[in-house]
Structure formats: C-alpha cells, structure tokens
C-alpha cells in the first residue's frame, strides 16, 4: 500500500531529476501539471524536463496547464512494479472505455509532452527503491 505523502513525492522527484534520459526527451517540457490522487492534489512544476517543485499547497501561485486526476486505487495499481492490466499506463486508465483517470485542462500541452511525461510517470515505479531522509515538499 503506497502512501503518496511528501516523502514519497520527494523520492519521486529525486528519481526523475537524476534520470539520464529526462534532460534529453524533456528539454522542452516546461509547464505545471496537477496530480489528483483521490481528494489530494499536488502541482508538479516542470522546468526543461526537471521537476522544479512539487507542492500540495495550491494557490494562485501554483498554475497548471493540464491535470491527471484519478482515485487513489488507480494510482496504487499504476505504481506497482508490474501493474495489473488496465492500470499500466495513463492513457489505458483515461481511455473512454475505462475512465479510471481523467485528463483535464489544456490537454494539448499533455500530448505535446507525452513522451517525457510518460517516462517520468514510469519513474514512480522506482520510488521506494531509494531511501529519502529529509522532507522537502513545501508544505506551508
């Protein structure tokens, strides 16, 4: 059972920002997007393929262009090492036949950055492999 708290988010951020492929395939990925996990919402701010900040302290200061909102259960299955069928990909979950994830907002930005976004979301499956000590999410 994964608890998507700030420790988990920091570990995911470290994983993405130390990934060798992201700087190349994400060099034009500069945007904010919202991760909705059940009723918890986080905004991920991307700067040239690196996560600049993840925060759950949403305000006028935390703009996002598109959102990925899904029940906690969808994300828990999605982040497993070998996700079960229908939960191994955000498009699998968002496809109209299934509706286990909702893509909101300016989805053009999502499709423009789909390669880098898919790669960084897959990095979620490596979280837990890395022990993260201090908390860094800006929880004000």
């Amino acid at each position: 059972m994964t608890t998507f708290d700030s420790r988990w988010m920091n570990s995911w951020m470290d994983t993405v920002n130390s990934d060798l492929v992201m700087p190349r395939i994400g060099r034009y990925f500069t945007a904010g997007f919202l991760l909705g996990i059940g009723d918890e919402e986080w905004v991920v701010s991307m700067q040239r393929g690196q996560i600049e900040r993840i925060t759950d302290n949403l305000s006028i200061e935390t703009p996002w262009s598109f959102a990925l909102r899904a029940p906690r259960e969808s994300w828990e299955k999605f982040v497993q090492k070998i996700p079960p069928p229908m939960y191994n990909d955000i498009w699998a979950m968002a496809h109209p036949l299934h509706g286990r994830l909702r893509m909101d907002g300016d989805v053009k930005v999502l499709w423009q950055n789909i390669r880098a976004l898919t790669w960084m979301l897959a990095c979620m499956r490596q979280v837990g492999d890395r022990e993260v000590v201090e908390q860094r999410a800006t929880r004000v």
Binding site: P85, D89, W91, H95, P96, H98, K108, W111, R115, T118
Partner: protein
C-alpha cells in the same frame, strides 16, 4: 564468411483496385498454405518479422506480410495530398482480397492484429468462400475512443505522440527491446496515417449488428491479450459469443501487439491454432 541473410524476401507487386494501381511492398518466407498477415494501424509489415523468420511456421505456411498503401514501402496513391486519409471497412476488406487475388493465393489464411483483426470479421462476412481460416488478434465488434485529433496536429510531434500513445498497450512483461521496437514502427508513420487507420478502427468499424450474419463456415479464432485496453478480453469474448463457430483465446502477460511485443509468448498460443487449421492439431487453442 558469407553474409548472414534472413530467409525473407521482399518484393513489389502491382495491385489494381478501385481505378488505382497500388505498388505494394510485401515480404514472404516459407511455403505451404498461404498465411497473409495484416499489420496494425499506422505501422507496416515489420511487425511480423519474428513469424517470417520462424521455421516452425514457415515450414508449413507461406507467410506473406504486406504494407498497406501509404504504410512503410507501399507508396500512397497519386493525388493523396488532396484528400483526408480515412480508411474504411469496405476499402480495407476489398483491398486485402485484391492483394490475395494479385498474388493468385488459393484460399489463404488471413491473420491480422488490431485493425487487421477487426477487418477479419468483415472478410468472414463478405468473402468466406475465398478464405480458409481467419485469425483475428485483438479484435472485437466495436472499439471506439481512438480517433483523436492530437495524433495529427501541427503543434504536436506526430511520431512521439502516436508511438507513446500505444506504449501502454503493451504488457510490462514484454521485453523492453521489443516494446521499444514496436514504439519505433509507430514513430515512423507519415502524418495522418495512424489517425486515418483509426477512422476505420474506432468510427467506421461497427460490427455489433452484423455478428449474427456470419455463417460460421470459415473457422474464426479471436485472440486477445490481457493488457489490451483498446479491445479488452471481455470485449473479445462478448463478440465471440455472438458469432457462430467463433472461438476466443485469451492470452496472459501480453498486450495489443503479441506478434511484435512478445513473439515467444504469442507462439505458445498461435501454434495450436495453426496446427488445427492445417488439420493436425489436437482441437482448439491452448
């Protein structure tokens, strides 16, 4: 040392259809019962490269995989730039048969995946006397939801959007190398080709009222991988129940591109079907 060549030969055949003469590139290997393989939307015959190189198959079947017009090395018809490309069931099913006629194939087996699987239903309905058997992979009577404008948009990289949109259709258990190879094929389609194929796959293809019209005279095998979220196992099984004589086979640990994402796993399910078709098998699938 002599060069290591694959036992596969590629040729161009001229296929007359609908007032056009299409220059079609196809690859073949082996001899025996003709086994015509249809690639998925937006890609080309390389998806069947493992089967073309598999002696267990090519020792009994003449495996033939061709590139549809506009795909791979089959060039588009003259004047293609003045029309929006939308593949339809009528054109697609008739063209597959025109290709078989051009090569003078005698009652071939037709095996197709995704759109190539869906078209098998139309072929079963309209051309049953010209076909020995049909293997419809990742197929069902209705598969909506894929005709998406972002797959051909001047502000979106076509290759990356199309290829990444299907990456999740492949099972996590499939070897990384083959998943990315499949990704590569999708990344090479020309602008609007994948989307044009999906017009057939998600809009024009609606077989829900036609299932019961199939006579069942031609053996029809529906094979679907559990990770396929475009045509789920349930959708395939529901379709099979409505078609006389159809048999559904659900494949574990595999997704929407069995033949290219995991040929080894796919072979376990395919060989029994191929043996049954040529009359030696011990009955239905695994």
């Amino acid at each position: 040392m002599t060069a290591l060549h694959e036992p596969v030969t590629g040729r161009y055949v001229y296929v007359p259809h609908g007032g056009h003469e299409y220059r079609i590139y196809y690859e073949e290997a082996g001899d025996g019962i003709p086994l015509v393989c249809l690639h998925t939307a937006g890609t080309d015959a390389r998806e069947w490269r493992h089967q073309l190189n598999d002696a267990d198959i090519t020792s009994h079947y003449r495996v033939i995989a061709f590139d549809m017009p506009r795909h791979g090395k089959s060039i588009p018809p003259v004047g293609f730039e003045r029309e929006e490309y939308r593949l339809t069931a009528t054109f697609y099913s008739e063209f597959v048969m025109a290709f078989c006629d051009a090569l003078e194939l005698e009652r071939p087996v037709v095996m197709g995946s995704s759109m190539g699987g869906n078209i098998c239903l139309h072929i079963a309905l309209n051309f049953e006397e010209k076909i020995r058997a049909l293997i419809a992979i990742e197929a069902c009577d209705h598969s909506p939801g894929w005709y998406i404008s972002w797959l051909e948009h001047p502000h979106v990289h076509g290759g990356e959007a199309c290829a990444t949109s299907v990456y999740g259709l492949m099972a996590p258990q499939s070897p990384d190398e083959y998943r990315w190879e499949t990704w590569w094929y999708y990344a090479q389609g020309g602008p609007g080709i994948f989307k044009g194929d999906l017009y057939f796959y998600s809009v024009d293809h609606d077989f829900r009222k036609l299932n019961e019209k199939i006579t069942g005279n031609v053996p029809l095998y529906l094979m679907t991988g559990v990770y396929d979220f475009a045509c789920t196992p349930e959708m395939t099984e529901a379709t099979a129940q409505k078609i006389k004589g159809a048999e559904s086979i659900i494949m574990e640990e595999i997704g929407h591109f069995p033949m290219s994402e995991n040929p080894v796993t796919f072979k376990r399910y395919l060989m029994p079907v191929l043996e049954t078709i040529r009359g030696v098998g011990s009955g239905g699938g695994a």
